[in-house]
């Protein structure tokens, strides 16, 4: 094991340097005074802030055991806010600082295994500790199986380790909070896997600087019980929300028709779920969860960052139905018609879910696996690059099916993973209170990585002339509804709702291809979907016969992994009126903005190493942004309900 030696030593150096900052006893860093309170800034002056809502460090047992991660939550935050941190002896710095961030280590076994990095720790002296230190990868299946069977492993004390680790998590989040500049949230991941393989994970975020001990999947595997925990804390003034992720790997359970006890979803469940889970992650390292080509055969852009296998069985595909967000929006409308409550009336978030404590979001700052680090600093070369591109095959370390049956584990497909997503919020200022409020009111959007800024308003009196006014956002907020909310009551005489859409490119990234509206509605108890191209760059027109727009083209040079912004547009905006509106049918609208094609991370790695492009993953991607939706509910019983909510805002 001599090859682990230098990394271990360097980790100890790093730990010893940061121990000061991490200790809960250390006084909090000085907080600069914030310039203005939220109420002084009007809605139309809200700004975009970009953040990372899902990141693991060495405090997560899988990150430590499987990926040899050494970073601490404190280092993760330092990197996120733009400081240089040391990884494996190299100083690395993020391309651009994030505005907000939450480290979300698994609550299960939190801070248990990384104690082995300290040879003086109690666990390092035990027989089981020595065994795990010798073969860290073995610990993953061992601990997961134990937690599945709800049993303790003699010699390992996750409860006391968890308490210490949680104290450090809280301290690291508080110490790195810079109101006005960089917002952190105390957070963790509730990691429930039904039957050990169907992902129901949720991240939990606290708004304040205090938080109770995590409620983990060892306490209960039912989301309803997690909500009870959130509600109890909220009642005591510690507001918190949960954000589910990777529904694409839930085997249809994340947006199932039924509750945990198997009964159909009712109104009380729907309302509870939306009080506690206002957002869902739509894109991250382990694929996008907007939709699958099978569910959306008419969506020519659905075939994007597909990750359709189970997380613990990389060669088994999960069920598609119930696993994707666009379909869930439709199911929510169907359930609302039946019960009066919509359990899937959520907004959108994007994140990395990287497991190395280093959150990057640019496509060219990603080195493949969740453990990969920024290739601009540490270019994977030689065998490492060949493994990433599948030229050298490796087998999965987390195939517990194989561990039980003795079959060889599944072959890894590192190219299946995509680069990180981002969450954008429209908030008054960069503080915990302001950003948390934006998350709760769903005034959010997700991107697959670039800093595309999108605006989306629905109303009854918008026209193309509205956009020509310089202060159009004032009117948009005054008479319309922003992303994440209900359309205002239909004005007398208004025939169809109209929407203002705007997307502005990443200032350091690629131009935009098009703006789309994705509409989901219910017809005869069935959910339907349709995509409208509402703004096209380069003067293209939709073909009236096919309803499709010509492709934007591509400027990507695959051999050098470069592209040019000679096609596409820097900004796209329009006012669109729904030509197929039916006031009797509930509907959901959201915006999707597509970039022009750019090289996928696999292409960057291949070009840097002079290796052939992999054939099993696309060479280019069209990165994108998705807004939280705007809902329309027909007048009647449900509309009254939605109006009550609107009035409360």
């Amino acid at each position: 094991m001599s090859h682990r030696w230098p990394t271990l030593i360097s980790a100890l150096i790093v730990c010893s340097c940061t121990a000061q900052a991490e200790s809960p006893q250390t006084p909090k860093s000085v907080r600069p005074q914030t310039p203005a309170t939220a109420s002084e800034v009007t809605a139309s002056e809200r700004q975009v802030y970009f953040g990372e809502m899902h990141l693991h460090t060495s405090y997560s047992f899988d990150a430590w055991g499987l990926m040899a991660t050494k970073s601490t939550p404190d280092e993760a935050y330092r990197f996120g806010r733009g400081e240089a941190v040391e990884v494996n002896g190299q100083a690395i710095r993020r391309g651009w600082p994030l505005d907000f961030m939450a480290v979300t280590d698994h609550s299960e076994n939190m801070g248990l295994l990384n104690q082995l990095d300290d040879p003086a720790s109690e666990i390092s002296q035990t027989a089981i500790g020595k065994e795990i230190a010798k073969d860290p990868a073995k610990s993953f299946n061992m601990l997961r199986q134990a937690s599945q069977e709800r049993r303790m492993i003699p010699g390992l004390d996750p409860v006391s380790a968890g308490k210490t680790a949680w104290g450090r998590q809280v301290a690291a989040a508080n110490a790195n909070y810079r109101p006005g500049k960089f917002t952190t949230f105390i957070a963790y991941e509730w990691s429930q896997m039904n039957e050990g393989k169907y992902n129901l994970h949720r991240n939990v975020f606290f708004v304040g600087d205090k938080a109770p001990l995590p409620f983990s999947s060892a306490d209960s595997g039912k989301p309803e019980d997690l909500w009870t925990y959130l509600e109890q804390n909220r009642a005591q003034g510690m507001d918190a929300i949960a954000i589910p992720h990777n529904p694409n790997a839930s085997n249809g359970l994340m947006y199932d028709w039924n509750m945990s006890d198997g009964r159909p979803i009712d109104q009380a469940y729907a309302e509870r779920r939306m009080r506690n889970e206002p957002l869902s992650e739509i894109v991250q390292n382990k694929g996008q969860s907007e939709t699958a080509p099978e569910l959306s055969p008419n969506d020519e852009f659905a075939n994007f960052e597909i990750y359709d296998t189970l997380l613990t069985q990389r060669d088994v595909k999960g069920k598609v139905n119930g696993s994707y967000i666009r379909q869930a929006f439709g199911r929510g409308l169907v359930i609302q018609q039946k019960t009066g409550g919509n359990p899937f009336k959520f907004g959108l978030a994007g994140a990395s879910d990287y497991h190395n404590g280093i959150s990057t979001s640019d496509e060219k700052a990603f080195a493949g696996s969740p453990g990969g680090i920024d290739p601009n600093v540490n270019v994977p070369t030689g065998d490492a690059a060949k493994k990433l591109l599948g030229i050298i095959q490796t087998r999965s370390l987390i195939d517990d099916q194989a561990a039980r049956t003795g079959k060889p584990p599944a072959i890894n497909n590192p190219m299946q993973g995509g680069s990180s997503g981002l969450t954008g919020v429209w908030a008054e200022q960069n503080t915990r209170e302001s950003i948390f409020a934006a998350l709760k009111r769903k005034e959010t959007f997700a991107t697959s990585g670039p800093r595309i800024r999108v605006r989306f308003f629905g109303g009854w009196d918008f026209s193309p002339a509205t956009l020509r006014k310089t202060d159009w956002t004032k009117q948009a907020y005054r008479t319309g509804a922003p992303m994440g909310s209900d359309l205002p009551f239909r004005a007398a005489g208004a025939s169809a709702p109209s929407f203002i859409l705007q997307a502005v490119k990443d200032p350091d990234g690629a131009n935009l291809d098009r703006l789309q509206i994705v509409k989901v509605w219910v017809e005869n108890g069935q959910n339907k979907e349709k995509i409208f191209d509402v703004a096209l760059s380069g003067g293209r027109k939709t073909d009236p016969r096919t309803g499709k727009a010509p492709a934007v083209g591509s400027t990507v040079d695959l051999t050098t992994a470069t592209y040019k912004n000679t096609i596409g547009a820097a900004t796209l905006q329009t006012v669109w009126r729904d030509p197929e509106f039916d006031a009797a049918k509930p509907a959901v609208y959201y915006l999707r903005a597509l970039e022009i094609p750019t090289p996928r991370w696999t292409t960057y790695i291949a070009a840097k190493n002079g290796l052939p492009l992999p054939t099993s993953s696309p060479a280019t991607v069209q990165e994108r942004a998705y807004s939280s939706p705007i809902w329309f509910t027909p007048t009647g019983r449900q509309a009254v309900r939605s109006d009550v909510r609107l009035a409360q805002k």
């Binding site: 094991m1 030696w5 230098p6 030593i9 360097s10 100890l12 150096i13 010893s16 340097c17 000061q20 900052a21 250390t26 006084p27 909090k28 860093s29 000085v30 002896g89 651009w96 600082p97 505005d99 010798k134 073969d135 990868a137 073995k138 490796t394 087998r395 999965s396 370390l397 195939d399 194989a402 561990a403 003795g406 060889p408 584990p409 800024r453 020509r468 310089t470 705007q502 502005v504 490119k505 990443d506 200032p507 350091d508 990234g509 760059s537 380069g538 003067g539 547009a569 820097a570 900004t571 905006q573």
Partner: protein, 309 residues
């Protein structure tokens, strides 16, 4: 096994001589004298050296490749790490064959001196020693006075950034050649400098504000990108229109109304951050010194400059 047998034989003959000595001097006094006898010291020391050199030869005999139980276990563990299951017996045999071949090649290579000029081996060894050196030195906690003095010499790291108040006009490149948009901006600049009003020079709508108050360069960079326009905010002439400058969206004309230079906060306001940074720096310095001390043990002769060894 032959070596071990030889050792045992020699051991026996020595033990016989010891027995004889014991028989000829049975009294405790005689035994004590024996213990103090230089000849016995000589014999015992000789024996130790003999056994040690035997053992050394066993391990380092160029023609013996020892596969110890620890080595076998390590090979098995590495396999499991990579593939997730323990190797079968046949796979284990293959692993050991591969190990034996690698070891044989390694020793041949070493015997031929191939390791001596190998850059990768040199770097790897140097890196290992670097880590070992750095682990040794932890800096002491500084006093408040020490911190304050240190702060005095690092003021610029804590200075708040410059704040810029400015207006800009935007000339979009969407649907036109980049050069055409630039030319439009340049023409507008001429109009502005000869008395034209900003809203009458044909600029395009910018999706966000056309003026910003007291922005830091970082804030501007978040919106306009790491671009010439952002950089010009710190250098463009004051109170007059200039440009065109390229941002991530197109071309701009810029009028910087005011630049408020950054200020330095009082020590008390930033004391905790200063302490963190001080310790960070002290650790890096201690690491550097450890390496310097190591270097100082060597004399450097610049033969390339005519130096003599």
């Amino acid at each position: 096994m032959a070596c071990i047998g030889r050792g045992v034989k020699v051991g026996l003959s020595v033990r016989t001589r010891f027995a004889e000595a014991l028989r000829s001097s049975i009294s405790i006094v005689a035994l004590a004298r024996l213990v103090r006898d230089p000849l016995v010291h000589f014999l015992v020391a000789g024996l130790l050296i003999f056994f040690a050199s035997q053992a050394w030869h066993d391990v380092h005999d160029q023609r013996v490749i020892l596969v110890t139980p620890e080595r076998a276990a390590e090979l098995s563990t590495k396999y499991r790490l990579q593939f997730g299951t323990a190797p079968s017996e046949a796979q284990m045999t293959q692993l050991i064959d591969a190990y034996v071949l690698q070891e044989a090649l390694y020793r041949e290579g070493k015997a031929m001196g191939l390791d001596r000029d190998d850059e990768i081996i040199r770097r790897r060894l140097a890196q290992k020693v670097t880590f070992l050196q750095q682990d040794r030195s932890l800096p002491p906690q500084p006093s408040t006075d020490e911190l304050e003095a240190w702060y005095g010499t690092h003021l610029k790291d804590y200075a708040t950034p410059v704040r810029i108040t400015y207006s800009h006009l935007y000339f979009s490149t969407d649907g036109v050649e980049d050069a055409a948009a630039r030319a439009r901006a340049a023409k507008a600049l001429v109009a502005l400098t000869s008395g034209g009003m900003p809203d009458g020079v044909g600029a395009d709508d910018f999706p966000y504000q056309n003026g910003f108050a007291a922005q830091t360069p970082t804030q501007a960079g978040r919106l306009f990108g790491d671009t010439d326009f952002t950089h010009q905010l710190e250098t463009a002439p004051l109170a007059t229109w200039s440009g065109p400058y390229r941002s991530g969206y197109g071309w701009h004309l810029l009028k910087v109304e005011a630049r408020v230079p950054g200020a330095t906060p009082a020590f008390a306001e930033v004391q905790d951050r200063v302490r963190e940074d001080y310790l960070h720096g002290a650790q890096a310095k201690a690491n550097g010194q450890a390496l310097e001390r190591l270097k100082a043990r060597y004399r450097v002769v610049r033969q390339d400059l005519g130096g003599q060894p």
